[in-house]
Amino acid sequence: MEKLQKFSPEKITSDLLPQKFGRRGIIWTAILIIICCIGAFAYIKQLRKGLIVTNMGDYVSWGIYISNFVFFVAISLVGSLITAIFRLSNVPWRTPLTRISEMIAVSAITFAALIIIVDMGRPERLVFLFTHGRLQSPIMWDVIVITTYFFLSLLLLYITLLPDIRILIGAKEKLGKPFSKLYRWLGSYWKGTAGQEKIRDRAITILCIVIIPVAFCIHTVTSWLFATTYRPGWDSTNFGAYFVSGAFLVGAGAVVVAMYVFRKVYKLDHYITERHFDKMGRILVMLALLYLYFNINEYLVPAFKMKKEEQAHLSGLFAGEYAPMFWFAILVGMIIPILIVVFKRGRRPKPMFVAGTMVVVGAWFKRYLIVTPTMLHPFLPKYDAPARYSHYFPSWEEWAITAGSLAGVLLIITILARIFPVISIYKTLTDHETEQPSS
């Protein structure tokens, strides 16, 4: 950041303007589009033939789609963590991270909503939730809260973008034509007057205040989808806090990964510095320890009691069919990242990227473990059920749709990063101005 003081505003603007895709960018986007197309193809097949193409059945009626949904909801929470919490607590080094986290939040919540529709099998029936929805149902709460969080995230991204859009319109010559119409449509009215600034500032503060409880609600309500049913592994009063802490961890992990990638690809070493990684590393350790604490509560206490009804479920996780995945999620998703990042050397960009990736990958498997093994162990005894109902492994259609949705999230982030600056130019310039030694 000290180096940044030597940079001219023109240099900063030039560095932070969206950049055209290079060869690697085109290949990356093409791969994502291909995966999305395969997912779309599988989804069309599912639409035509119904959920029979999946390997879900009478017992595992929530499979990989719902695991993926919980994962997306968790990641989307990052928008509120970085933007809202950091802003309200006046964290001075937040500037290069806020836009990235807002982009991740918008793309993740978009696909969280879409994947629920995929899981419905009959998407046209979504309308019944509004025409015949029961407010008593946690599913209805989830629909309300996801819609609300989606609009809040979108609004937060848009309002914070306004001054940057003005800069983008001004840099038409450098950026070329591709998005100039879009920029004008989105923010030609922003003139940066004192009156506009005042309203915008107040709007962002209001958004930051509102988004925190809504973000807590979104993941608490998602946890209630599970905790309000009486099943081994879900019958917990701790689930809301457990889910929220997990969501903060995976969100922070995703931001760290995105920070590293954007820093590398867009050559933003002077903007996303080692100091940012160090700070995010400290947060990551704290969040991982918190989530580990909740995991110990969620698994060790029931395991100590080992109620007969929960025995099969817990044994399956600790030493049975799901043990490799369970220990992978615990070790890779929490313990190893803690061990890496807890040391100062581990908080440098590369080890942080490794730890962040581990957190995100571990978190995906953790969501799968929360959903599927429980579904396989209902409290009511299975009666007259075919043997295949006792196991679940997603069909290729489910894998394709899941991969498509994951690629979709990355594609939205990629497109947003192509169109808009990944670091707020306006805020960086303002920070730069205030940090300049008075002459």
Binding site: Q136, W141, T148, K191, T193, I199, I206, V210
Partner: protein, 303 residues
Amino acid sequence: MKLNNPHHKLFIIFLLLLGTTISKTNAQDSVAFTTVLSVRYFLPENKVPYIDISTKKKIGRKSEPLKGIPVNVYFNEALEKNLLGKIITGINGEGWVALPAFFKATWDSLNEFKFVAVSDPSPGVESLTGDVTIKKAILVIDTTSSEGTRTVTAQLKEKKGNEWVPVKEIEMKVGVNRMDGSILSAGDEETYTADSTGTATVEFKRDSLPGDQKGNIVLVAKVEDNESYGNLVVEKSVPWGVSFTPEKNFFDQRTLWTTRFKTPFWLLFMAYSIVIGVWGTLFYLVFQIVKIKKMGREVRPQT
């Protein structure tokens, strides 16, 4: 050759043990078992009779159902022209064939019948045969009430010539149909025997039994696994129970678990307050954007 090396001795002992275990396992696999096909006759409510088929595998004292066995049911003799129906035994090893409409003329003309069931050979199960011979009969139930005493009478009537003649000293159950399919005896005895006139008379002692909303309970008389007549059951609905009127209709209350129109007020209030509060803020923010837009238009472009 001497086996001086202790490891060799251990290895030979291990092989012997292994061999013994394998031979024992094979012996267990080839434990003798017998297969049984049983045929039973049922007449519910004096209407269409059916033949119940059951296939089982008996290993020692245990018996297991044999599922998926194809069985043909014949009248009198296992001939194609006498075929009444075909079944494949279900997961419980059972299946049934209702007497078909084309059999009515034969049914009306005779008073005694033999039903034969023959299974097709299946993998591991040879062809099985079973039969049942029954006399045509009906079961009649009636009730009387006098001076506060309620009586249930049941008669098994056998067809002799063109007449229905009550059967004497036949054992039957008389009682009230329970929801689980069992019978709660109407009197003190578990079963009752028809007297010399062929009538089983039972004083009804089950006052205050819960009935339906009109106080109806279902009386039932049942002859079970009789060698000559098979299984017969007949029911009669009588208003001898206590009418059941729910004190409060659960689904008429505003509870968490009822329809959307019964959502509790407190939940509606809380949910709508939150939704209106948050979405009100959202609309306010959108309005602020509109305001910013308006302000931007008012700014004259600098020349």
